[in-house]
């Protein structure tokens, strides 16, 4: 709780680049680390996709890298597949997307958009990054302990996770670091947004992006402690032989287990999902915030219904605390409880629809510019639409009986997080790049990134919905071959998965590898543009209205030359009688 920024004027290398307390540099640290983890999580998935498409076939070339314990002669062991699955989920969510959406974009742009010189607690901000970093390192180390990384799914349900190998212990310690990081970060965001708004920046003049970060921070603040409890208790079960999650009378491989017993298996699931459902909104809300900025900017008109969107957002935040058990419909729920959670789940879909409808109606009457950030933002809409809509059958417990734990669920949430959230993040990177570096990213390479990625995302995830409807379970090492309707010799087995349904795995994997190929233009563009991209001639190259564009590019320490004053709402584009088609918040005359 420190308010001095002065130390870094003459700061040493360490102060400036490593233990920086400048929100912008911390944002960049979060951004780079997050992108690297995203890439890492992506690579884990590419490996899994080989095994799913070609079960038990040796992986050419790379296979030899992984050693006897993981891929003897290049063939992936189920042990390793399960590690990849659990760590892909964990890394993508907790080390990739959340740090990017909140740590990077939030850190960098929230203070700028509200006209603040920095975050309210710069040192806490630094601590939050380093806690995240340690959490990430812990997760990476876990791949190298005996038995490998955690292998009980990102959900880590006991008793499986309690009897699992050492990697699970590191997973739990890693999570405790990440929880600490989020906690420090969320306090900082809320205080910053409430306390450091520049003169004239009333709550109802805040850009929608800031609203989404505020809501997200509350979710992190209040939901993460539940996971902390779950992690502590599971650690106790693993290290001190307690039985919080272990019922009496377990017999594992014929051996009677030596536990005192009396614990509750479902307690863990309640604690976990009490966090993890709000967590999925942590993934999507900042994404909605980012694309709102970009859609308003590139339609050159105000968004259609700022207030309803804000109300819907806050309502969504509240509701996200009371839907968690829709992940647990099949744990033996009675009618009363299942009806309650079905009802709340249906209710929470309405504010999402309100926000999405408002964004889509914004397009009407606009003068739409199709630049790269806008393409990603526009693609977000139908992709999130598919992801959100496929949430509805899952939310009806009766339909969930057939769909639970199938690839339908995988398809559902990947549509929201991958072509949804990731597209919003890409969109944000292209959009704000000039502010951070003073240079623009290349448009052509941007198109070369967007179109193939957009198409492959659908080639990847649409077939998963089909596989799920056909009844294919998730987390299958052999991609469902055990459940094939005929053996390779052509004998009928009574299985439900036809060759066509299983064959879709090949299509999906091809899509994934193609997509990997077309990330190269992005990575190249990203680094190339930092040093050699086209310089922007103005601090406001997109002719936008929000306060971050009032600061120099890149903004100096302390952000603004003079404290900006806010004169109007965030999206005053094409105001009648104004001389230009944008009226920034920070200019007195329209």
């Amino acid at each position: 709780m420190d308010n001095s920024l002065d130390s870094s004027h003459s700061a040493s290398f360490w102060r400036k680049y490593v233990f920086s307390i400048d929100h912008k540099w911390i944002g960049i640290q979060y951004g780079i680390t997050g992108l690297l983890f995203l890439l890492f999580g992506f690579c884990l998935m590419l490996l899994m996709r080989w095994q799913l498409a070609y079960p038990e076939r040796p992986l050419p070339f790379f296979g030899a890298w992984f050693g006897e314990l993981r891929m003897p002669e290049g063939v992936m062991l189920p042990e390793f597949y399960n590690q990849l699955g659990a760590m892909h989920g964990t890394i993508m969510i907790f080390l990739g997307v959340v740090p990017l959406a909140v740590g990077a974009f939030g850190n960098y742009f929230v203070p700028l958009q509200i006209g603040a010189p920095d975050m309210a607690f710069p040192r806490l901000n630094m601590a939050s990054y380093w806690a995240y970093f340690l959490g990430g390192v812990t997760m990476l180390i876990s791949f190298f302990v005996p038995g490998g990384a955690a292998n009980s799914g990102w959900t880590s349900y006991p008793p499986l996770a309690v009897i699992a190998t050492t990697g699970q212990t590191l997973w739990l310690f890693g999570m405790i670091f990440l929880i600490t990081s989020s906690l420090l970060g969320s306090i900082n965001f809320i205080v910053t947004i409430f306390q450091l708004r520049a003169p004239g920046m009333t709550l109802m003049r805040m850009p929608f992006f800031v609203w989404t970060q505020l809501t997200t921070a509350f979710l992190l603040l209040l939901a993460f402690p539940a996971l902390e409890v779950a992690a502590i208790l599971q650690l106790m079960d693993r290290l001190a032989d307690t039985s919080f999650f272990m019922p009496s009378g377990l017999v594992v491989s014929g051996e009677i287990q030596d536990y005192s017993g009396g614990g509750s298996v479902l307690l863990y699931q309640h604690l976990f999902w009490f966090l993890a459902h709000p967590e999925v909104y942590v993934l999507i809300l900042p994404a909605m915030g980012i694309i709102t900025e970009i859609i308003a900017n590139n339609t050159r008109k105000p968004i259609g219904g700022y207030k309803p969107m804000v109300y819907a957002l806050v309502f969504l935040g509240f509701m996200s605390f009371v839907v968690w058990a829709h992940h647990m419909f099949l744990t033996g729920m009675g009618t009363a409880i299942s009806s309650f959670f079905q009802a709340t789940t249906m209710i929470i879909s309405i504010p999402s629809i309100v926000i999405l409808a408002a964004l889509m109606l914004t397009l009407w009457g606009g003068s739409i510019r199709f630049n790269v950030p806008m393409l990603f933002a526009l693609a977000f809409l139908p992709m999130f639409g598919i992801g959100g809509l496929t949430g509805l059958p899952l939310g009806l417990s009766t339909a969930d009986i057939h769909l639970h734990d199938t690839y339908y669920v995988i398809g559902h949430f990947h549509y929201v997080v991958a072509p949804g959230t990731l597209f919003a993040l890409f969109s944000g990177i292209y959009y704000w790049f000039p502010k951070v570096t003073g240079r623009k990213m290349n448009e052509f390479l941007g198109h070369l990134h967007f179109w193939p990625t957009f198409i492959s995302m659908n080639i990847i995830f649409m077939p998963m919905l089909i596989q799920g409807l056909a009844g294919m379970s998730r987390r299958l090492w052999d991609g469902g071959l055990t459940y094939a309707d005929t053996t390779p010799e052509g004998v009928l087995t009574g299985g439900i998965l036809t060759a066509g349904i299983i064959g879709l795995h090949k299509v999906i994997s091809m899509g994934a590898w193609t997509m990997a190929l077309f990330q190269i233009p992005f990575i190249f563009n990203f680094f190339w543009s930092i040093w050699w991209g086209k310089k922007v001639t103005s601090d406001n190259p997109w002719e936008a209205t929000t306060l971050e564009w009032a600061a120099p590019s890149p903004p100096p320490h302390g952000n603004f030359a003079t404290v900006p004053v806010t004169y109007r709402g965030p999206y005053e584009y094409s105001v009648p009688d104004a001389e230009r088609d944008f009226s920034p918040q920070f200019q007195e005359t329209i």
Partner: protein, 256 residues
């Protein structure tokens, strides 16, 4: 063309399953209509308001309340699904027991990575079980050798059932959480150690189907498959008799 074949759902072989399928179809209908509607809207708008065709944006945009109307409609539709279909199904089927006298009652116990089916035998009473009697090979369920009710019990790695009679199954697990999934019966239920959770369904087709495990339960999760064999009533009876004879021999061999 039959509308009910548009989605790639697996074959249906239970009496209640059509209700689940019906909900799935109705929701997907709604989803499809919404998606196509909005997609057409977006495509039109992107064309019509392209900067080239519409160089000057309108500050006020669209004046309409139909989106509110649409939202209200969706809300009503969702309530109808809940109150009309999903909740009634849950209370009348999932959260209830079959009320017929010809019900076949049995237990299924999951373990890494197999299913054990336990029939009460001719006396209709399950033998007592205790983990201290468990022997992976000969007595995977831990049936108490001193309990007379246990003498005629039948255990099987596959699930055999007669057609047309409700099967009422109590599910438990010996080790970790599994998920008892019978896709063709539209039955799926987590199998949780320390809890006994019932499910029931009435098979409507004879044939060989499968039990799948749908919850990650360790290395062998992917192959935790067992057979589900639906017999005609007579066949089922003769299967039971056969098993009873065989297990009586085994039982005597083992305990005497």
């Amino acid at each position: 063309m039959n509308l009910m074949n548009l989605l790639p759902l697996p074959e249906l072989a239970s009496a209640h399953g059509y209700k689940i399928d019906f909900i799935i179809y109705v929701v997907h209908g709604l989803m499809f209509a919404l998606f196509v509607g909005w997609a057409l809207f977006i495509l039109y708008v992107l064309f019509r308001f392209h900067r080239r065709r519409h160089p000057k944006a309108s500050y006020h945009g669209i004046h309409t309340h139909w989106s509110t109307g649409l939202e209200v409609f969706i809300a009503i539709f969702e309530v109808a699904l809940l109150v009309g279909l999903s909740i009634p199904f849950w209370s009348s089927h999932v959260d209830a027991a079959p009320n017929r006298t010809d019900t076949v009652e049995l237990r299924v116990v999951g373990e890494q990575f197999a299913w054990n089916v336990h029939y009460p035998g001719a006396d209709g009473v399950f033998g007592k079980t205790d983990i201290i009697h468990i022997d992976q090979q000969s007595n995977p369920l831990g049936i108490d050798p001193n309990d007379p009710h246990g003498k005629d019990d039948i255990t099987s790695p596959n699930l055999h059932l007669p057609i047309g009679r409700p099967a009422y199954i109590h599910l438990t697990s010996k080790d970790v959480i599994h998920c008892f999934s019978l896709p063709v019966m539209r039955v799926k239920q987590d199998v949780i150690p320390g809890m006994s959770i019932p499910v029931w369904f009435t098979p409507t087709k004879t044939g060989e189907f499968e039990i799948a495990c749908a919850q990650l339960c360790g290395l062998g999760h992917y192959k935790m498959r067992a057979g589900l064999i639906i017999h005609s009533d007579e066949d089922f009876q003769s299967w039971l008799d056969e098993q009873a004879a065989a297990s009586a021999v085994e039982y005597d061999d083992f305990f005497n």
